[in-house]
């Protein structure tokens, strides 16, 4: 089955100054519609890799192609979500969701209706006109997700978006995220330091190790979809967890984190 490769990197690297090699020799291909988790401890370069793909920072060496074109900067088919919701405090939820359209100058009835629908989709009915400070952390991230959907990007890069939330909210949002991005259209890259979350969400897990940042392993996750919370306790799931741990342990022998 010919897979549609939407992102590919070969020998990709990023060096910040003489001593800090954030990413070294990253080789990967990401098919369209897949969900990739980037997992690793702090400082392993996963955020940097994500930002390279998004075009926010420039690579130091190697190749990086998105849809067969070199990455030159932020593009409208790539959308990002951060650990902090980064909502504008002085705008209501729906105004925050409309920000991408405002910047592109495409605000019309259609866009507004889509913004409304996106807020319904992420479960924020009745909170369309609330301000960020009136919302909980989980709700703020939902607004951020709605904003990401509004960009119409079909490549979504998420940098530990649920890291600051409590476990229960995180689990709920994980399920909702999967529901929203399922299907062949949206390609998702999800950065996290939580091994279970990484495996639960993904089709493939890229395990990264630090100093220098490298993709130490690319593990295909053969669990049934749609994922269910009960899977977390199955032996198959835990085998994957162990596999990831082994990769990390193997490369982190004796190094303080």
């Amino acid at each position: 089955m010919a897979e549609d490769i939407v992102i590919s990197g070969s020998g990709l690297g990023k060096q910040f100054n003489e001593t800090v090699i954030a990413v070294e020799d990253a080789n990967f291909t990401i098919p369209r519609g897949s969900f990739i988790s980037l997992v690793g401890p702090s400082g392993c370069g996963k955020s940097t890799l994500l930002r390279l793909i998004s075009g926010l920072i420039e690579k130091s060496g190697g190749d990086l192609l998105v849809r067969n074109a070199e990455v030159e900067g932020p593009r409208s088919d790539i959308g990002m979500m951060f650990q902090k919701a980064v909502l504008l405090d002085w705008r209501t939820s729906i105004e925050n969701v409309l920000l991408p359209d405002e910047i592109r100058g495409t605000v019309d009835q259609d866009a507004k209706k889509r913004a409304w629908d996106h807020l319904q989709l992420v479960g924020l009915k009745d909170f369309e006109f609330s301000f960020p400070r009136q919302l909980s952390g989980g709700m703020q991230q939902r607004v951020a997700l709605a904003r990401l959907l509004q960009t119409g990007a079909d490549i979504m890069l998420l940098d530990e978006p649920f890291g600051a939330l409590d476990e229960f909210t995180r689990e709920r949002l994980n399920d909702e995220l999967l529901r929203i991005v399922e299907g062949p259209d949206i390609t998702t890259i999800f950065v996290t330091h939580n091994i279970q979350e990484a495996i639960y969400l993904a089709d493939q897990v890229f395990v990264m190790t630090p100093r220098p940042g490298r993709i130490a392993a690319q593990i295909k996750i053969d669990l049934p979809t749609p994922r269910h919370i009960d899977m977390l306790t199955t032996p198959e799931f835990n085998k994957y967890v162990q596999e990831v741990r082994d990769v990390l342990a193997g490369h982190l022998d004796g190094q303080p984190l």
């Binding site: 932020p74 980064v86 504008l88 920000l99 209706k113 409304w116 006109f129 009136q134």
Partner: protein, 291 residues
């Protein structure tokens, strides 16, 4: 406030109702001023130094309702302070915005900002008077000078210290510099800009009054000084109270501005503004619940 800070004897005071609190305040006020009045009348305090509250009150009444002499001075002073405020703030914010947008400009002007900060603007008063003469322009000039700095430094800091994540967000959405400036920098910086404006308001009034002390023929400041030098202490205190009133009205104006503009810092205001925007949306888009 933790109970470690409480006053043991009157700990119950916190639980009073608003009405009772006002009465309590009123009581304290009466005690203080009653004591003062008594001291003045009974000769404990020299009336020349510290006139009785009632004579001050009478003088106020006289100034406002009998001779009406105060209105002209009041208007002049307010005019000078306001003009000085407008000029000082415009220049201050204008320079700050330019410095925020253009790194080149910033590079050359930053050190001078340091130098100017250290000179008390007041010290320049003799020069201002010498340059602008005895008329109202010197008052406006000094007011502008004194109130230039807070808006400048606050606007500059506010515009430059934007949350890194918000900046990245805008970049990732492909925004232009102008859009970033209008939709991100300015709103983020508003709280600190307004704090600077508040300081500028007080500064403008101070500048006006000091310039009047130095040399003026009209204005509440010089009025007060004249009264004092002629040992007309009731008049002097009365003029001081008028200046208090000016300050208080400016203060209220500032708080109102803060209340209206910075709505996202107060829950009640957020509710208000949210509801207003919802109504506007519904009117424009029709009832969305049919979606």
């Amino acid at each position: 406030m933790s109970d470690i800070g409480s006053d043991g004897v009157l700990a119950g005071v916190k639980e009073l109702t608003p009405v009772q609190k006002t009465l309590a305040h009123g009581l304290v006020f009466l005690i203080l001023f009653g004591g003062w009045e008594f001291g003045a009348r009974a000769g404990y305090v020299n009336e020349l130094i510290m006139p009785a509250p009632t004579s001050i009150a009478y003088r106020l009444y006289e100034m406002f309702f009998v001779t009406g002499s105060i209105y002209w001075h009041y208007i002049i002073t307010m005019y000078e302070a306001t003009m000085g405020f407008i000029i000082g703030v415009s220049i201050g914010m204008g320079l700050a915005i330019t410095a925020a947008i253009s790194p080149v400009f910033r590079r050359y002007w930053a050190p001078y900002a340091v130098v100017f900060n250290v000179t008390p603007g007041i010290a320049v008063t003799p020069f201002i008077i010498a340059w602008f003469g005895f008329g109202w322009s010197s008052k406006i000039a000094l007011a502008a000078l004194v109130c230039f700095f807070p808006p400048f430094i606050n606007t500059l800091t506010g515009l430059l210290n934007i949350d890194k994540d918000a900046t990245e967000l805008f970049r990732s959405l492909g925004s232009t510099k102008k859009q970033y400036f209008q939709k991100c920098q300015i709103p983020s910086a508003l709280p600190i800009i307004i704090a600077g404006l508040k300081l500028a308001m007080t500064g403008a009034l101070i500048g006006t009054i000091v310039a009047q002390f130095f040399s003026a023929s009209e204005g509440v400041g010089i009025l007060m000084q004249r009264f004092a030098f002629r040992l007309n202490m009731d008049g002097s205190f009365a003029a001081l109270i008028v200046m208090s009133l000016m300050g208080l009205s400016l203060f209220t104006l500032m708080e109102y501005m803060d209340y209206k503009v910075l709505y996202w810092r107060r829950h009640s205001r957020m509710e208000e503004v949210g509801a207003k925007r919802k109504r506007k949306w519904m009117k424009e888009m029709g009832d969305m619940s049919q979606a």
